[in-house]
């Protein structure tokens, strides 16, 4: 009996892996007999509600003859979508927007529909397949929406990255080339340069610049090599020492995660590392001097190394438990197509991930978005698991707290090792 159970368990497990591997779909042509009633819910950011309602209206105008739609719009910030969705996936919206760093967790929990399966639906109704969607969007955004070689969400915007805002009245275009000159100029002006160190999203930029990598295994655990040697031949200890030197400069201000806009408005800064969401705050604070550009280089073992960054995106996904998966996918495609990405830019100044939408003159003229585009050449798609964040935040904090000393190489190595242990620990 016991043996039988074991065999059964193995068989079940095998069936499970098979079913997981094959996210297949039935083929066939859509029926044209009868108009279905389709009820959908969609979540988007608070600030976007009016714009999204317009997109829903245009969606209904376009597809209204194929089905009777009843689409309800709800509020859920892209930055917290994962928390709400994962509490109860079945109760979450059919279509929801989220920041790309949440993708691995959402996929592992089975909360996202595999878009590859929707190829047929997209082709028969929207007239374009998954390949067309991928081709229309920047390759980075497609990478960020893919996991284990499957495509899970539609790229909506390419604005979730950071670069340097500065006040051109106080620091010159020459000063902003390196951290050393930037900090020196800031010191002279009696102002500060701000950056968040206590977050793995920001502080990994120094490591990425030096050729270090992070990645994700199929089981959801994170890989990270910050405690070893990078492809460019630098060690993690050397990078950390550079970071400590920057943080120790009196003109440097370590800003808590989430406090950046507040500090920009506070008026003590002449330059700050942040993203497009702070454009208005920076504009207000720097006035005529408002300018933005790629991140500076930093001194690493006597050489100047370009600081990397995280190329983040906002994505729109379809709930795997949606009652109307096909139409939900079409809605998600619709609100992220070229047309609507253009609307998003004109109404809310959100940088498009769609290549055609991004190439317009208006986008190029936008100071913040063009700075982001400039930095994106050094951007890395940061696909990491949930265990990445706490240890890396702590690592950054121990630098700015002065807990790690530049001359204590063994201490730095130990901190790096501990961080890596935490980041790579198994998912529970």
């Amino acid at each position: 009996m016991r043996k039988f159970k074991k065999i059964a368990a193995v068989a079940v497990a095998a069936a499970m892996t098979l079913s997981l591997a094959a996210c297949g779909s039935k083929t066939g042509t859509p029926s044209t007999t009868e108009k279905q009633d389709v009820t959908l819910t969609m979540w988007g950011a608070e600030e976007d509600q009016k714009m999204l309602q317009g997109m829903i209206d245009s969606f209904i105008a376009k597809y209204g003859d194929k089905a009777n739609f009843n689409i309800q719009l709800g509020v859920e910030s892209e930055s917290t979508a994962k928390d709400v969705v994962l509490t109860d996936i079945e109760a979450a919206a059919d279509v929801y927007a989220f920041a790309s760093d949440q993708l691995p967790d959402l996929v592992n929990a089975g909360a996202l529909l595999c878009i590859d399966d929707m190829d047929g639906a997209l082709k028969s109704y929207a007239g374009k397949g998954v390949a067309d969607v991928k081709a229309a969007n920047a390759s980075g955004s497609v990478d960020a929406a893919s996991y284990n070689n499957k495509f899970y969400a539609f790229p909506m915007s390419a604005d979730n990255g950071y670069f340097l805002y500065y006040d051109s009245k106080l620091v010159s275009a020459e000063d902003i080339k390196t951290w050393d000159s930037l900090l020196a100029a800031a010191g002279k002006a009696g102002k500060k340069v701000g950056m968040t160190f206590a977050s793995g999203w920001y502080n990994a930029s120094f490591f990425y610049g030096a050729g270090f990598t992070t990645g994700l295994n199929a089981d959801g655990t994170t890989t990270i090599d910050f405690n070893g040697k990078s492809a460019d031949g630098y060690t993690g200890v050397q990078v950390t020492k550079s970071m400590i030197n920057i943080a120790a400069n009196p003109a440097f201000m370590a800003i808590a995660d989430g406090d950046i806009s507040n500090q920009i408005a506070g008026g003590k800064l002449c330059a700050v590392v942040s993203g497009t969401w702070d454009a208005t705050a920076a504009q207000a604070a720097f006035g005529d001097g408002y300018a933005a550009t790629k991140l500076p280089t930093y001194t690493l073992e006597g050489k100047q190394v370009q600081q990397g960054s995280v190329a983040g995106f906002k994505l729109v996904g379809v709930n795997a438990y949606s009652k109307n998966a096909g139409w939900a996918a079409l809605l998600a495609e619709w609100i992220t197509n070229e047309e609507n990405q253009k609307i998003r830019f004109t109404e809310r100044e959100i940088g498009p991930s769609n290549i055609a939408a991004a190439s317009s003159d208006a986008v190029a003229a936008n100071i913040a978005i063009s700075a982001l585009a400039e930095q994106s050449a050094y951007g890395v798609v940061q696909l990491v698991g949930g265990k990445f964040w706490d240890p890396t935040a702590t690592f950054g904090k121990s630098i700015t707290d002065g807990k790690l000393k530049a001359d204590d190489e063994a201490g730095i190595q130990k901190a790096l090792d501990e961080m890596v242990t935490g980041v790579t620990s198994p998912v529970e």
């Binding site: 608070e46 109760a91 806009s261 507040n262």
Partner: protein, 281 residues
């Protein structure tokens, strides 16, 4: 005589200093709510420019982020029903455990003590799924049930109060042929105004303060369904805080005004209620 006057002055001055310490954050809340700059003010205590725009926006021009009138209405309705149910439950349990004698009395009271030792926050996810099975998520009734259904567990203070009601009164009523129900309604209740007020105030406040359960139960993202607490809490999202922080403060002020008034009027009863209960614990 003069020495006494000085003593009185120093005494009241000491109170004044303490009161100022206690009120500084509240004062900051009030003055910030009158600031015309929407973000957090870090450099000065008082706003650079005064304005009532936050209140105007909050009360008269609801947008998708701030729907204060709706939230206020929702919370008020939830609070009224929570308050009615909780008050009934608390008084019922307190009367049964204090004035009546039955076999299961002691075991039930011990069980209540034990249950109160568990961290309640842990069971949130299970409560959510129970409500979902009953079809009560995204529903104000569900929230009312969450706030009031277990309120019987908080009966101890009320029980302590009932314990102080002289048993002779009840015995006299029995001899006159009154039933337990009559005694409960016509003798004990009229004497218990303080504890009723105390229970009403404390249960009325719950929906205004809770942001954990409300957030998980009202999870459809329809912001007009929210309560004041989650609506205001939501304004502190990273992407919103710089445009809504002062409205958040204004909302906080608006919520605390009715509660303060309630407190001021009911102060005497509140103190008597809480005391009567604490005396016997």
């Amino acid at each position: 005589m003069k020495k006494k006057t000085i003593q009185i002055i120093t005494h009241n001055l000491l109170l004044l200093v303490l009161a100022i310490i206690w009120l500084i954050p509240i004062l900051w809340l009030v003055v910030t709510s009158f600031s015309s700059y929407p973000g957090i003010n870090t450099s000065t205590f008082f706003p650079k420019e005064w304005s009532i725009i936050n209140y105007k926006k909050l009360l008269f021009s609801a947008d998708s982020v701030a729907q204060f009138p709706n939230w206020f209405k929702n919370t008020f309705i939830i609070a009224v029903f929570t308050c009615i149910i909780s008050t009934c439950f608390v008084l019922m349990v307190a009367y049964a455990t204090s004035c009546m004698r039955f076999k299961m009395r002691k075991p039930l009271m011990n069980l209540a003590v034990i249950i109160n030792l568990f961290p309640g926050i842990l069971s949130m996810i299970a409560v959510y799924f129970i409500l979902k099975t009953l079809g009560l998520t995204n529903n104000h009734l569900g929230l009312i049930l969450v706030y009031s259904a277990s309120s019987g567990l908080g009966y101890l203070i009320a029980k302590g109060f009932f314990d102080t009601v002289p048993a002779s009164l009840r015995e006299a009523a029995y001899l006159d042929g009154a039933t337990e129900f009559d005694i409960f309604l016509k003798i004990v209740m009229p004497m218990s105004r303080p504890i009723i007020v105390y229970t009403i105030i404390s249960s009325f406040m719950v929906p205004w303060m809770d942001f954990v359960y409300a957030k998980i139960i009202l999870n459809s993202g329809i912001s007009s369904q929210w309560t004041v607490a989650i609506g205001l809490f939501n304004m502190l999202e990273k992407s919103l805080i710089n445009n809504y922080f002062t409205q958040f403060c204004a909302g906080g002020v608006l919520v605390s005004i009715p509660i303060s008034i309630l407190f001021f009027i009911m102060q005497k009863f509140y103190v008597e209620g809480i005391t009567g209960g604490a005396v016997k614990g």
